[in-house]
């Protein structure tokens, strides 16, 4: 299978998982908010395909795609979303706080921009512990680039020349507010002001393009030339939070999404992947069955791991 097809299949797997979440949602098996990555899967898949297993990634609340792209376990994923004690975090985390440290997924926060500095700190710790060419990826959306913590993290990281990839998934929306209403600055020029090399990928729908641009950024990072900022343009198909579409709300034009979808390889001809799709469907069904068959955490968990 070509690299392109491999990346498309991985992206498709993420989409199929999230479509299963949409199917399940009315049943109330998942009793917490979900921020779906549908439309943005190719970013996570392209970036993670370029990373090494030892690299650490610090995601945010829209984190299903990164968790799955790092190949963290699917059964524990569904169990986590359904609040079962077999979930990866015993059901205490849910959709917004996915983590899988064995796969380098270092914990998602639901406070915008709050894990960006964690990536910088982990990189600093790596240097203190000794030499390594591991890289650290801070994942955030375009809304996070307005936070002071983002500016502060760029500054500190640049002073110390740490190998952090600042990855901005730019879907042009912060909840319901568009980029033009929120930002007076250019991300590229901001990056330049901090002496941080800027990489840009407009074709966020194309996992190969994302993979290649990420690989170029990683060559810079592993070469010891300090941090890099990578912006990938992407498109959120669904509402900010929840399983539905909300084009009737009027904050963005449906046409923009329709045009983007024409370029989405996951909506193209998938007939050559029939076998793979069947396998993914089985995998998902088994994971859902595992989750539904699992117990809920009880009182013994209520006060465990507080301190």
């Amino acid at each position: 299978m070509s690299n392109r097809d491999e990346l498309i299949i991985r992206s498709l797997r993420v989409r199929m998982v999230e479509e299963k979440i949409i199917d399940l949602y009315p049943s109330d098996l998942i009793q917490s908010p979900v921020h779906l990555s549908i439309g943005q899967e190719t970013v996570a898949v392209g970036v993670c395909a370029a990373l090494d297993d030892r690299d650490m990634l610090f995601p945010n609340y829209r984190g299903h795609a990164f968790y799955l792209a790092r190949k963290a376990p699917l059964k524990e994923f569904f169990a986590e979303l359904m609040g079962r004690k077999t979930g990866i975090s015993k059901g205490k985390a849910g959709s917004m706080h996915l983590a899988a440290p064995d796969y380098g997924v270092m914990g998602a926060s639901a406070v915008v921009a709050s894990t960006i500095s964690h990536a910088v700190g982990a990189a600093l710790a790596e240097r203190i512990k000794g030499k390594s060419d591991r890289v650290f990826v801070a994942v955030f959306g375009d809304g996070a680039t307005e936070q002071g913590a983002f500016f502060e993290s760029l500054n500190f990281c640049s002073i110390h020349g740490l190998p952090v990839l600042f990855l901005c998934e730019d879907n042009s929306l912060a909840v319901h507010t568009s980029l033009d209403d929120r930002q007076s600055f250019s991300l590229e020029r901001l990056s330049d002001a901090f002496g941080i090399v800027f990489f840009n990928e407009e074709a966020g729908f194309d996992p190969v393009a994302v993979f290649e641009t990420t690989s170029a950024a990683l060559r810079h990072l592993r070469g010891g030339s300090g941090p890099a900022l990578l912006r990938v343009k992407t498109m959120r198909y669904r509402e900010h939070v929840g399983p539905g579409e909300d084009f009737d709300a009027g904050y963005r034009a449906e046409r923009t999404v329709t045009q983007w979808k024409k370029k989405d390889p996951l909506l193209g001809d998938l007939s050559r992947f029939t076998a793979e799709i069947a396998l993914i469907r089985d995998e998902i069904d088994q994971a859902v069955e595992f989750a539904i068959g699992s117990d809920f955490p009880g009182i013994e968990e209520l006060l465990t791991d507080v301190l």
């Binding site: 270092m106 913590a149 502060e152 791991d305 301190l307």
Partner: protein
């Protein structure tokens, strides 16, 4: 008898941390400068250049950087020369650090220490003097300690750095820094959590935090000459204090005064009274007394500042009233002297 200062105990534990644990770092604004966090990190940057890290003025991200360090196997000690500046780190401290172990079902531990100095000396005003223990102790997942003596510093910092795997906030009081203490004055190994019986007594229980432990000692010494026996409990950990120690003492004396370095409402005083009210309000033979800062921001003018903070005179007066079981008493109050002035010329030993 040998003596040591609170500051030198802090310096000792900082040196030990870097010397004994290669994966420890000190990070904060001013840790490498010529003042070295009131003399507690002086010269350490020269000896451990990669592990004593100066920072931009960016408390929020530095706290997050500390979490990232903790997640990747390095123990960070983050300093704030004023606890007030620590408020800029509350998102990371409360939303992230305090929650990481629990929220991820035990997948992560975030070992880190945040040293915050309660800046009260003279004229520090509203934003350089606050004592934030009750805000912090309210949050499950955080440990908060207010060491009152050098021995408390040595025991609790050593334990925190080598054993405790979560975030801990150390609230150090600026007025304590240069005070001399007898070296064998206290038990050298009380636990990081819990409280410490500072002085055995039989008439009135005083539960105190930080510098108020010393004010309580001065009051107790003074009152002893008038036949009043004061028991002092150094609360030590405001988040994980020793409930039983307090209940046992109050059961014995029936009289309680809480002396905190902060405001009394929703604070340490409120908390200690909650514990007694929920256990058995009849343990008290008289209504309890709470002593803390006046319910206002801290004024800068010295005349107001001296009124703002309670001191040994207030403690003597209130304890004597409790002992006499009336609004009056026959104990003459000690000479009026500003607490800050007192600690300027009287350095101990305590």
């Amino acid at each position: 008898m040998s003596s040591r200062t609170y500051r030198s105990a802090l310096e000792t534990v900082m040196v030990e941390a870097l010397e004994n644990v290669p994966s420890t770092a000190i990070i904060g604004q001013g840790v490498t400068d010529h003042k070295g966090i009131f003399g507690t990190t002086l010269g350490l940057h020269d000896r451990y250049p990669g592990r004593v890290i100066e920072t931009p003025l960016a408390e929020d991200s530095i706290a997050g950087i500390c979490i990232g360090m903790g997640l990747n196997g390095v123990y960070p000690i983050n300093t704030h020369i004023r606890a007030d500046f620590g408020l800029l780190a509350f998102n990371q401290l409360i939303n992230l650090a305090a929650k990481y172990k629990y929220m991820f079902g035990g997948l992560f531990e975030v070992p880190l220490m945040m040293r915050m100095v309660v800046g009260r000396s003279w004229g520090q005003g509203a934003q350089h003097s606050q004592s934030l223990q009750s805000l912090l102790s309210h949050i499950p997942g955080l440990a908060v300690v207010m060491p009152a003596t050098p021995q408390s510093v040595l025991a609790s910092y050593r334990y925190a750095i080598s054993e405790h795997k979560g975030p801990i906030v150390m609230l150090e009081h600026r007025l304590l820094y240069e005070l001399e203490f007898d070296d064998d004055e206290a038990s050298p190994s009380h636990p990081i959590f819990g409280s410490r019986l500072d002085r055995l007594g039989s008439d009135v229980t005083v539960v105190a935090t930080s510098i108020m432990v010393l004010e309580a000692r001065r009051a107790a010494d003074y009152l002893a000459d008038f036949g009043i026996s004061v028991e002092i409990i150094d609360l030590h950990s405001t988040s994980h204090y020793d409930k039983e120690m307090i209940l046992t003492s109050v059961e014995k004396t029936g009289k309680l005064l809480v002396a905190d370095t902060s405001w009394t409402f929703y604070g340490v005083a409120a908390e200690i009274n909650r514990v007694i009210a929920e256990k058995n309000p009849r343990l008290l033979s008289l209504p309890s007394v709470s002593v803390g800062m006046a319910p206002a921001p801290c004024p800068t003018a010295k005349s107001l500042e001296d009124l703002y903070y309670p001191d040994v005179r207030v403690l003597v007066n209130e304890v004597a009233k409790l002992h006499n079981e009336s609004d009056g008493h026959s104990v003459p109050l000690p000479d009026s002297e500003s607490m800050v002035d007192f600690y300027k010329h009287f350095r101990g030993p305590f």
